[in-house]
Structure formats: C-alpha cells, structure tokens
Amino acid sequence: MRRLLFLLPVAVFVAIAVYFLLALNPNRDPQLVPSALIDKPAPEFDLAGIGTAPGLALAAFKGQVAIVNFFASWCEPCKDEHPLLMGLQKQVGAPLYGIAYKDKPADTEHFLTELGDPYKAIGVDENGRTAIDFGVYGVPETYVIDKEGRIRQRFVGPLSERDIAQELLPLVRQLQQS
C-alpha cells in the first residue's frame, strides 16, 4: 500500500506528459477561439453599401449557401488572402459576400480598386456591431452559412489554399446538396 503511494507522483507525471504530447499537435492553435455560433442562426443584420451601391442584409442569404468574409483595408493579412478570394466564387460555386469591418467606406473602396473586388455584395460595418454579433474577434474571418441561414463553419485568419481545397470546398458542396 505504501509502495503504491510512492508511485503516485510518477503516475501523475505520466498523465501530464501525455497531455503535453497531445498539446504539441501542430494542428492545434492555442490562440484560436472557436466560434460560439456554429450551427446557430446567423445574426440579423442590414448594412449599407459603399457609396450608392446596394448594401447587404441577412435576407440576401436565404435559400442558398453563402460565404461571408470580414475584411478591412487596414488589415495586412487581408491583403495576403485577397488574391485567393478573387476566384473563390467560381472555384467554390457559392456567392462570396464581404463585410468591411471598422473601415471608412472611402478606404474600403480604394482597397478594392487596388486589389480587385471579389464580392457579390459588400456591407459596411463601420462601428463593428455586426461583427460582434457574429463573434468576430479579428480580421480576416470567413463564415460559411447554409441554406437555412445557420452558421456552419468559421475560418479565423487569412484563408489558405489548403483551407479552401480541404475544408471550404467540401463543406459548401455538402451543404448545397442537402
């Protein structure tokens, strides 16, 4: 009995070491905050567009699978992912909508003129409230919304080719078929 007690420290350590080993998994991102809205309805919003362009509202998504990308002209990683967004609609077969987060419309316009406009429609969220309703905590973030208007997936940070090919594309296909 006494002997068993002496084994307790090393046993506890082994358990901790196993957890550490699991934690070292390169696929794990300790800074990533998972979305609290997965499988929940996307929040209601109705945003104005840039200048005289029509804006963006939740109603626009009804009945189709949609991709929403939060971006800003002052955001460096957004510039990195922008080239990938340019052909995204065609590549994935679902409409891509943009929401400009905490950005002056003039700056957003300049950004899109310079780098291209991949979006079907753009909403301007100058005060960031819509983003907060989505649970956005940084830009860029990309959301996949299904036909019933529920959020199904969130990508935090700039999209990579791998993200699009291995996660976004299959998910959109799957949602479109259901």
């Binding site: 800074q31 998972p34 979305s35 809205l37 990683p77 309703d133 649970g135 940070g157 700039p158 990579s160």
Partner: protein
C-alpha cells in the same frame, strides 16, 4: 504556421500600450458604471494576452466595454449582459470558468488535493506516533558508548 504568424501580426497591431476605460465610455449613473466595471474585470480581452476588457486598450476591448454598458443601461441584469457576450464569443470570454461537469476537476480539484494531502499527513503523523522506540543497545554497543564517554570527558 502562416495563420499563426498572421494572427500574431494582427495582435501586434491591436495591442499597443495598455490603458483601460476611457473617460468618454463611462456611464452617467455611478451605480450602473460600477456594475459595468465589475463585470468587465471578469471578462477576457480576446485579442490580448491575458488582459481583461477593463484593462486592455485594444479596439475590440473598447467595443465590448461600450456594448456591455449599453446592455446594462438598457436594463439587462448582470447575468443577461454577460450572456449577451457569451452567446457571441462562447465561454472563453469568461475569466471565471462556469461550474459544469467539464470543469468539476478544476473547481473541486484544489479541495480534493488538500483533503488528500491532509489525510496523508494525518496518517503519517499517526504512524510516527505509534512507531516503536529505537531498538535497545546491544552489549557491544553499550561498551562502546561507555568508552567514548570516558574519552571525551
């Protein structure tokens, strides 16, 4: 890796010198403001490293502080105002983890360790008390002691 780098860049942009609640954010009613401050101190700033939204100067923290005050001013109770945030950001935004089955080990662990350690100590102490006294000296050892005592004087 690239994503991590990008997010890190983002954090650097958003996390300059930290200064907390701005005078312009404060609510007029001191009681409501006090509630808001107390709640902010228990909410995590998501884009900072280990700061509350009360302390952080990140823009997101500012937004959340303003939002919290709006909810409180609109008549939400403390729990409702916090729920508004956890609905959107999940339980991660709470610095005090909820007491639920997933966190029983966390919340009851310390007391369990204390009871275990205290119990172990008590058993140890009881055993010490009951331990047999030192074995009596053999004849040879007795002679040796006498010799040494005589030598040292």
């Amino acid at each position: 890796m690239k994503r991590l780098l990008a997010l890190t860049l983002l954090l650097i942009l958003l996390a300059p010198a930290a200064f907390a609640v701005e005078p312009s954010e404060r609510l007029a009613d001191p009681a409501l403001e006090a509630r808001a401050r107390a709640l902010s101190e228990e909410l995590r700033c998501l884009v900072c490293q280990n700061e509350t939204i009360d302390e952080s100067s990140a823009p997101l923290a500012h937004d959340l502080r303003v939002l919290l005050r709006q909810r409180i001013a609109a008549g939400d109770s403390d729990a409702q105002a916090v729920k508004f945030l956890t609905d959107r950001y999940g339980d991660f935004v709470l610095l005090k983890p909820p007491v639920e089955p997933a966190t029983y080990v966390l919340w009851f662990g310390p007391i369990a360790v204390l009871l275990l350690a205290a119990g172990g100590a008590l058993i140890y102490l009881r055993r010490r008390k009951a331990a047999a006294p030192a074995a009596p000296l053999s004849a040879a050892e007795q002679r040796r002691i006498e010799r040494l005592l005589q030598e040292d004087g």
